[in-house]
C-alpha cells in the first residue's frame, strides 16, 4: 500500500527576491506517513507547519524537494478527489447556510444531486448541525469549525489535512471536535493534523513529529515517545540508616516525602538492585512505576534543546505523569 504522505527533502524558502528575505520556512523535510495513521504534526509558532501543509495541497510550491500523496505527486488532480483540507481558522461564504455551503463543495466534486443531498444530511448530523438553517455569518466559531470538518468530509476522503482543528474553541466545542476526529479514526481514515493542543494529540494521534524552524526534530509512535526509561520506586519509612545510604547510592535522584522516600533510576539492572535491597531488609516497598513522559515535556525538551544546543537540567524540564505498573505493589 502506498504511503499516505511522503516528503523528500521538501524545502520552502519564502520570498527569495521579495519581502520574505529568503527565509527558510521548511528545511529539507523528510516525512513518511502510512495509511490509516493519525499523524500529529507539531511545532512551535512559525515552525513551518502550515507552510508544509500548503505545499502538500499544492497551494504553494516547494523551493526544493518533492512530495507525494497516496503515491501520486502533489498537485495531481485525481489525488485531490481522495484528500481534503481544513485550513487554519477557516472562513466560508457567510451568506450561505451550512447545507448550501456543503452543496457548493459537493458540486465541485461532481457528486450528483441525490447523493449530495444524502451526504449533506448525514454530515450535518455527524457534526451536530442538522437543525441549523441560518447563514454562516450567524455561526459561532465552534459551529464554523464543525462546518469546516463537514466540508472536509463531503468527498469521503482517504486522507485529511487539518490545520489546528481545535484552536480557539471553548472546552465543549473542543471535546466535540476531538470526538469527531476519533470517530474518523475508527473509520480508518488517515489524518494529518497540526495542533498546539498536546493533550489532544497524545489522546488522538498514533504517531507524531515535532518540527522546529522548518527542520524535523523528532518523529515516532506516540507510545514509544512517551515511554520514558525512568522508573520511580517508593519506599516507606522507617529505614535503617545503612539501607537508606545504599538506596541513595543506587539511585540517580531522590525525593523526600513525609513518611516515605522516592527513588528514581533509569538503569534496569540498578532498579532490580534497589528492589532486592529493599526486600532483603524487609522494608516496605510501596510502588514501582515506570515514568511516562508527557508529550508536553518531550515537546519542550526537543524545542529547547534545539534553541540552546544543550539539554536543560531535569528539575525544570518536566512534570511527569505517573502511570502505575500493575502488580508492583510490595
Amino acid at each position: 500500500m502506498a504511503l499516505a504522505v511522503q516528503t523528500i527533502g521538501l524545502t520552502k524558502r519564502y520570498g527569495v527576491l521579495g519581502r520574505g528575505g529568503g527565509r527558510l520556512a521548511v528545511d529539507h523535510l523528510d516525512l513518511e506517513v502510512e495509511q490509516g495513521v493519525i499523524f500529529g504534526f507539531l511545532g512551535p509558532n512559525g515552525a513551518g507547519k502550515t507552510t508544509t501543509i500548503k505545499m502538500l495541497l499544492g497551494l504553494i510550491f516547494p523551493t526544493e524537494g518533492r512530495a507525494e500523496l497516496l503515491g501520486k505527486p502533489v498537485g495531481n488532480i485525481q489525488v485531490r478527489r481522495e484528500i481534503s483540507y481544513l485550513p487554519e481558522s477557516p472562513y466560508f461564504y457567510d451568506y450561505l447556510s451550512g447545507a448550501e455551503l456543503l452543496n457548493f463543495y459537493g458540486k465541485l466534486f461532481n457528486i450528483n444531486a441525490e447523493e449530495r443531498g444524502r451526504k449533506i444530511r448525514q454530515l450535518l448530523q455527524l457534526v451536530g448541525l442538522a437543525e441549523d438553517k441560518k447563514p454562516l455569518r450567524e455561526y459561532s466559531k465552534g459551529m464554523l469549525q464543525r462546518v469546516g470538518i463537514a466540508q472536509a468530509l463531503i468527498n469521503d476522503p482517504k486522507l485529511l489535512f487539518f490545520d489546528e482543528p481545535t484552536s480557539g474553541l471553548d472546552p465543549i466545542a473542543h471535546i466535540e471536535i476531538r470526538d469527531v476526529i476519533l470517530k474518523l479514526k475508527e473509520e480508518g481514515k488517515t489524518i494529518f493534523t497540526s495542533s498546539h493542543q498536546l493533550s489532544d494529540v497524545e489522546l488522538i494521534c498514533d504517531r507524531v513529529s515535532i518540527i522546529h524552524r522548518g527542520k524535523l526534530m523528532k518523529i515516532g509512535d506516540v507510545d514509544d515517545l512517551l515511554k520514558g526509561s525512568e522508573v520511580q520506586i517508593i519506599v516507606d519509612r522507617p529505614l535503617s540508616p545503612a539501607l537508606e545510604q545504599s538506596l541513595r547510592g543506587l539511585s540517580q535522584r531522590v525525593v523526600e516525602q513525609e513518611g516515605r522516600i522516592l527513588l528514581y533510576q533509569s538503569d534496569e539492572e540498578l532498579v532490580g538492585q534497589i528492589i532486592d535491597a529493599v526486600r532483603a531488609e524487609r522494608a516496605r516497598l510501596i510502588s514501582v512505576t515506570p515514568q511516562r513522559q508527557s508529550l508536553e515535556s518531550i515537546f519542550l525538551q526537543t524545542v529547547r534543546d534545539d534553541d540552546s544546543g544543550a539539554a536543560l537540567p531535569p528539575e525544570i524540564t518536566f512534570t511527569s505523569e505517573d502511570t502505575p505498573l500493575k502488580g508492583a505493589e510490595g
Binding site: L57, G58, L59, I60, I77, R80, L86, Y95, K107, G148
Partner: protein, 280 residues
C-alpha cells in the same frame, strides 16, 4: 462543469456586494429620472441641438435625445464602477478570506477556477446590465409604443465593453493590489477610448513623431482594449448619425462583439498562465 459551479457561486456572492447593489439601484433611479431631466432640458435643448438637423428638431425629439444620452451615460458609469470593482475584488477577496484554500484543494483546476470567476463576473454584469437595460427599454418603449432595438443593441455593446474591462481587471487582480489595479484598469479604460486616436497619431509618423514612438503607439493600440469603436451610443442616440456607419448590424455582431470576446479570452488565458504559478 466545475467552472460553471464556480461561476454561479460567484454570481451569488457578487450580487450580495453592497457596491454592486447601490450602483444598480442608483442607476435604475437615474434612468427613470432621466424622463424628468428631459422635461426640464427640452426647451433649452432645442437651441443647442437645432443646428444638427437643420432646425427641424422637435421638442419630443430633443427630449428623446436627452433621455437616451443620460440613460446610456448612467449605464456606462455603473458598468465602469461594477466591472472595476468586481474585477479587482473577486479573487483577492477569496485569497484574503482563505475560501480559495478549500476550493483549490478540491479537484478544481486553477484554470477552471479563473474561468469560473471570469464567467461569473460576466454573468453578474449581464444580470445588472439586463436590469438596467430593461428599465431603459421600458421607459423608451412606453414613450414610443415600439420596441427600441437600438437601445437593446446599445446596452449589449456597453455590456461587452465592460466584460472586456472586467477581464482586464481580473487579470491584474492576480498579481496587483486592489488600488493599483483599480487605477491601472481605469487608465486602460481611458486610453482604450482614445485607442483609434493613438493609431492616427502613430500613422502620422514622419518628421513630427519619431518612428519608434509610432511603433510604441501601435503596440499600445493593439494591447489596450480598443473602446473607440464601442462608443456607438452617438449613432444610436442620433439616428441620422447611424446612416454614417455602413452595415451597422454587421459591424456590431461580426466585428465588435467577436473582438470583445476574443480580447476577453486572451485576458483569461494570461490570467490562467499567471495564476497557475501563484502562491496562495
Amino acid at each position: 462543469m466545475t467552472a460553471w459551479t464556480i461561476a454561479t457561486n460567484t454570481v451569488g456572492e457578487a450580487m450580495r456586494k453592497k457596491v454592486i447593489n447601490i450602483f444598480l439601484l442608483v442607476a435604475l433611479i437615474m434612468i427613470i429620472l432621466s424622463q424628468a431631466f428631459a422635461f426640464f432640458a427640452a426647451p433649452t435643448g432645442i437651441s443647442t441641438q437645432a443646428g444638427e438637423v437643420g432646425g427641424v428638431t422637435s421638442a419630443s425629439r430633443v427630449e428623446m435625445i436627452v433621455i437616451k444620452s443620460m440613460a446610456f451615460g448612467v449605464i456606462v458609469l455603473a458598468g465602469l464602477v461594477m466591472s472595476i470593482f468586481l474585477g479587482t475584488d473577486l479573487i483577492p477577496a477569496e485569497i484574503e478570506r482563505k475560501t480559495i484554500y478549500t476550493i483549490l484543494s478540491k479537484p478544481v483546476r486553477r484554470s477552471a477556477y479563473i474561468t469560473g470567476k471570469q464567467l461569473g463576473l460576466a454573468m453578474t454584469l449581464g444580470l445588472n446590465f439586463g436590469l438596467m437595460g430593461l428599465a431603459f427599454l421600458a421607459l423608451i418603449g412606453l414613450k414610443t409604443f415600439s420596441f427600441p432595438y437600438e437601445i437593446a443593441i446599445g446596452v449589449l455593446i456597453i455590456f461587452v465593453q465592460f466584460v472586456m474591462l472586467g477581464s482586464v481587471a481580473l487579470l491584474f487582480s492576480v498579481f496587483l493590489t486592489r488600488n493599483i489595479n483599480a487605477a491601472l484598469t481605469f487608465f486602460m479604460f481611458v486610453v482604450g477610448m482614445l485607442s483609434d486616436f493613438l493609431l492616427s497619431i502613430a500613422n502620422q509618423t514622419g518628421e513630427s513623431v519619431s518612428r519608434y514612438f509610432g511603433w510604441f503607439l501601435k503596440a499600445i493600440h493593439v494591447m489596450i482594449p480598443n473602446f473607440s469603436n464601442f462608443n456607438i451610443t452617438n449613432p444610436l442616440i442620433h439616428p441620422q448619425a447611424m446612416q454614417e456607419i455602413p452595415n451597422f448590424y454587421r459591424h456590431v455582431f461580426l466585428e465588435l462583439i467577436p473582438y470583445g470576446l476574443v480580447y476577453s479570452a486572451i485576458m483569461l488565458l494570461l490570467a490562467i498562465f499567471i495564476f497557475d504559478r501563484k502562491e496562495m
